[in-house]
Amino acid sequence: MVENSIIVENLTYRYGNLLAVDHISFKVGAGEILGFLGPNGAGKTTTVKMLTGQLMPQEGHAILLGRDIVKETQAVRSQIGVCFEQANLYEQMSALDNLILFAELFGVKGFDGYALLKRVGLAGREKDKVSGYSKGMKQRLMVARSLVNAPKIIFMDEPTAGLDPVSSEAIGNIILEERDRGATVFLTTHDMWEADKLCHRVAFIDKGKIAAVDTPHNLKQLYGKRSLMAEVAVGGGLEKREINMDTADTARAVEELFEREKVVTIHSEEATLEDIFIKVTGRRLSE
């Protein structure tokens, strides 16, 4: 049993003079979902390419499932699944044939394509050509394809980008099911809400460097400001009041608010991962 599914040490890659990934190190535990967050050009895709053997690291190394990705590329690949951001399916083939092809490449015996397609919500459309699928359906098929070999590590690059809420939730549920199965999920995303909901830990990457790695909860504790947001009736309108929850006077401040003003709504407000990312890197994720 490997304790850490992924061990990255000093991983580095340059495109000419551009240092795309700058000596990054991190570990991902077995059965963990790690959110890999960063704006465009931060080095996310280059990191994933190195971890999946598509690019050779120029410095450092990556150990997946106890094997060096450079030295034992084929052995590692047989145990990983990759879901790309851009749909890259054989459009002239059916969904079922797409899956069967990859099952054969992985040498999966007794592969049940119908069951997998049912699991991603494509039952009844198994034999339709992929060219006739909607974007959401293609993305679900991409997820299904990354699961044909029951991988121990799944790399998912923006799996819900541009999808409707129903498709996003369906894919989110599959990620959670895979976690329950014991798979490690390396999730690259811009979506902070998705990362917060799904990930055990998140890593912020910016300009090729890891800026922070921790659980969303710890990051919020460390960098965020907890507060209560209230709407109070003033004259004919509403005004907002904010009470910091991390001071000794919080209880008294709440009491005074209710005594002195007419409170219409009140709720707690945590810093989002987006807020924390800005605080840590000085940049927005959407840049």
Partner: protein, 352 residues
């Protein structure tokens, strides 16, 4: 080499090939077209002799000869226009009689007759003309006379052979069939790179070499299969079928290597088509030399397809054997190994 992986890839590529109407259409239409062209072309050589002649004094026997079956004589008013008629291709052979021919014969001398040949005239015509002139001499004098002939070839030297046009075209058509598959296979690879499916394949346990082998088998299968079918239907295996088969196999592998190179140098299917047509034209050039002997000069030997067409032509049309074409086969094999290596190296970089 992983046979399971290669089998899966081949199955996929054949399915994609068959599902793409464009590939299927150009393959089937191409094959039918080339076979059709072969059978539409004349199967026999025109044996009627058209003869141009300049004769300041026309011997009476020549007038009789004009009426003979199989000979058409056209008289010219001067020697220069006679030569021009040969040069512009109106006649393959022309005869110029000296103005003193009758006097020379009468004096028992040997007149000198000048025979002009078009450079693309078959060599048999030379003997035919000498025989004709002897017959004329005999008809005129009642006995075989001695005479001198001077021969002059007009135009570039393109001496050919008495082979039907369609048989001359057979190697060219066979090579065309092979070459068209350069574009089909390159398009198939380009689509995989363009749509990112190649990237999806390369994060599975398959090795790049397995991918190349699968693509290579498909390319060789398509090119070789069609070329063999064509040659079988047009009687291209009547001489030394084994040499023809070996030549076509090497040619098919050359096609695969060229496809790899083309796919690695282009970004999409449109670019494959554009560059592919240029490559196709270049590689087809030596084939025209088999249709019109002498048309292609020595420079064509730098085009690798020269050795392909030349071998097929020499074996199928002239009955050449292993010894005759061994150098051609060696050069082809060497070039094919080079182009396969270059194609695989370039494509491996492209995949990454």
């Amino acid at each position: 080499m992983n046979t399971r992986v290669i089998k899966a890839l081949l199955k996929k590529d054949i399915a994609l090939f068959m599902s793409n109407r464009f590939y299927l259409l150009i393959t089937v239409i191409g094959l039918v077209f080339y076979i059709g062209v072969y059978f539409v072309l004349p199967s026999k050589v025109d044996e009627k002799l058209s003869l141009a002649m300049y004769a300041p004094v026309v011997p009476p026997a020549f007038t009789q000869l004009t009426n003979q079956e199989g000979v058409i004589i056209k008289y010219f008013s001067d020697e220069e226009s006679l030569k021009q008629a040969v040069l512009n291709g109106s006649y393959q052979v022309a005869i110029s009689l000296p103005s003193n021919i009758m006097d020379t014969w009468a004096a028992g001398g040997k007149p000198t007759i000048t025979v002009y040949y078009a450079s693309m005239a078959p060599p048999e015509i030379s003997a035919a003309i000498v025989a004709l002139v002897k017959e004329l001499s005999y008809a005129q004098t009642g006995q075989a006379l001695n005479f001198e002939t001077t021969e002059e070839i007009l135009g570039p030297d393109m001496l050919g052979n008495q082979i039907a046009l369609r048989d001359r075209m057979r190697p060219l058509l066979a090579v065309f069939i092979l070459l068209v598959e350069i574009m089909s296979l390159a398009s198939l690879i380009a689509v995989e790179i363009e749509q990112g499916t190649a990237r999806a394949l390369l994060v599975t346990p398959l090795r790049t070499s397995d991918l190349f082998i699968a693509k290579g088998l498909l390319g060789v299968g398509l090119a070789f299969g069609q070329a063999v079918l064509f040659m079988a239907l047009v009687g291209g295996f009547s001489h030394q079928p084994l040499i023809i088969l070996v030549t076509l196999i090497i040619g098919s592998v050359m096609v695969v290597g060229t496809s790899f190179l083309l796919a690695s140098l282009t970004r999409d299917v449109t670019a494959v088509t554009g560059w592919g047509v240029l490559i196709l034209i270049l590689l087809a050039v030596p084939g025209f030399g088999t249709v019109i002997p002498g048309l292609i000069s020595d420079w064509a030997r730098v085009i690798p397809s020269y050795y392909l067409t030349d071998t097929v032509s020499r074996v199928a049309n002239y009955g050449a054997g292993w010894r005759d074409v061994s150098m051609n086969l060696a050069i082809m094999a060497g070039f094919t190994a080079l182009v396969i290596w270059a194609g695989m190296t370039a494509l491996r970089r492209r995949y990454k």
